[in-house]
Chain length 362, copies 2
């Protein structure tokens, strides 16, 4: 089947582009002796997680336990849950996972240490722990080396937990101008942390950082041992606008149909926020996606099922019923809205793949 | 089970508030002799669709055929698909639905008439058709009375289609100041249309309009016979900000857990854009939801799994692991992200209900 014969809206993933993206990131990591632990939040599909492992990933990253459970069920045996596990029910699920796989979690509070310790010790299993440190992004993460040391010591004191190192989130989208400045700040934080751990005789085997936008300067982060990029497998309009991908690197395209052109200067397509997500694009730009067939069309607005293209400055003629390919702003959020995706190579659909870990918010 | 014992993030629906909201809208419609055809896109659950029918709704509205199929499978037999059905596969699905239920669709192009005519005539069924007219919102809809008449005539000429009237979308959020102005414009359009149809001897049994924000002045739209509000069943932060609901009318609350407070002045909760959607709130306001426990907390940002509360101006103390209730900006988009919701009355969870029509984008 041709990708234009799929009923719309539909998310089509080009497997040739996926392979190219996986290979390029794997090669970057190999050449810099950095471990690659891809974040599966972008694709949410065990088959693609396995391709990442086959390309040499040392393990995989997930955000939520529900995602981890899907991945472990499908045979993935090395996972980082890069999210604080809080509460008894989740601590018990974590412990159950530790029976089946080598699981590491990230945390930034003594409460989270205690939940993990209790869950694992009651079940007689062990979990690896990374202490999340804030290097300037101000989301999660302890604020200084003393807090990090204290937390590490609390972990070391629990026999069912293994302190494995530090995790940081380097932010996502930085401009070229601020990149060097940001790098300096992050490295100052990391160096102070690593010095303190060394002074206290606590080994730090893992320093985990790195998003897709920052991936290619990961080798310049002080002491970094692994990165967790997610978006690189598919890319999207935001990675393009950020200059870390080209259109040809974008593996995910939403195919939509023109359903109305009754209003002059406007074309309505059958995908809106329920198909693309409402995620905006990189600051300084506008629009909700890139129409591949018409760079002059502006994806100006959405309702749940309506996408509004402003075509008033376009010379292209649109027909009711014709199909268009749109690169979404944020592919991770888009994938999460689709029950299944269509795997293709070029113009040919090869198979339909359920998005097994979509909607796993707990 | 108490609603605070549900693992998070979780969407809890208060059935007492639902009943109150359903009753109030039904009474408004009854008192003004307006037919009520609620839009099920807000709840996506057949059990709530049936409650709407039991409260006197003359039928239900859906946006996509996938939603219609779920509703018809569960026994709903009068449906309006308020969306253009374009393409052969969808025309065939429409015809299959017409075998099982009384289905009306809205459209605004001759192409859409032809798709519907072909699908229904091949299967030997009939579909009702409303011609969508643009009364100023500039999304879908023919632009003037001549175009509407032409389309109606094309429908009348097809033996498998039945022209049932006009459909318009009155916009959603208008300020009190612009309300009278907007009403005047919409009525001018409607009156011209109805005059033209009368002059041409074409009866217009149905004039369908009305969103939740405009619902309560529906009786002032010229010639209107039915409304299609959706959000009123649950309400949300946007209907509150718009002044058409109070906090006590909001039936949908997302329960989240505090997972980090490592960064001073900030609290991170375990629901982000994968739980709430990124839908912004009404222009002129900011934030992604209302924290019921702390009106001084500002829900300033989200990543997929992280909600950022700015609590720097709050006197409240937060604890890791505590649960908070958040009213989302846009409940329809929130519901669509949840595989199931928790039905409650007050503080007590009564049951878990799958969101059967979630993700039905086709």
């Amino acid at each position: 089947m041709n990708i234009r014969d799929v009923d719309t809206p539909a998310l089509v993933i080009d497997l040739d582009k996926v392979e190219k993206n996986l290979k390029a990131m794997a090669e970057y990591c190999r050449s810099h002796h950095i471990n690659l632990r891809p974040h599966t939040k972008t694709h949410k599909m065990p088959s693609l997680a396995k391709r990442q492992l086959e390309h040499g990933a040392t393990g995989l990253t997930v955000a939520k336990l529900g995602e981890a459970e899907i991945m472990v069920e499908s045979g993935v045996d090395r996972l980082l849950v890069a999210y604080p596990i809080i509460g008894r029910p989740k601590a018990e699920r974590l412990a159950a996972l530790c029976e089946k796989a080598d699981v590491t979690i990230a945390l930034d509070s003594p409460e989270a240490v205690d939940f993990a310790a209790r869950g694992t010790s009651e079940r007689g299993v062990r979990a690896g722990i990374l202490v999340e440190v804030d290097v300037g992004f101000r989301r999660c993460g302890v604020q200084d080396d003393q807090a990090a040391l204290k937390l590490a010591q609390r972990i070391i004191d629990c026999s069912s937990l293994e302190f494995r190192g530090l995790l940081f989130y380097p932010g996502s989208y930085v401009t070229q101008e601020t990149q060097e400045e940001q790098l300096r700040k992050v490295n100052a934080s990391l160096e102070r942390l690593l010095d303190s751990f060394q002074a206290n005789g606590i080994p730090v085997p893992v320093v985990s950082g790195g998003s897709t936008p920052t991936a290619r300067f990961s080798h310049r982060f002080s002491g970094l041992t692994e990165i967790r990029p997610g978006t690189y497998i598919f890319n999207d309009r935001n990675t393009m606008l950020h200059g870390v991908a080209q259109l040809d690197d974008c593996a995910g395209t939403v195919i939509v149909t023109v359903v109305s052109k009754a209003v002059p200067g406007k074309v309505i397509v059958d995908g809106g926020s329920k198909t693309f997500s409402s995620d905006p694009c990189l600051a300084g730009h506008t629009g909700f996606g890139l129409v591949k067939e018409d760079p002059e069309a502006v994806f100006v607005a959405m309702n749940e099922e309506h996408g509004y293209l402003d075509v008033s400055r376009s010379g292209r003629r649109y027909a009711i019923g014709e199909k268009l390919g749109v690169i979404p702003n944020h592919i991770c959020a888009t994938v999460n809205l689709h029950n299944e995706v269509f795997f293709a190579r070029g113009e040919t659909v090869e198979s339909v793949c359920p998005v097994a870990a979509r909607g796993k918010i707990r």
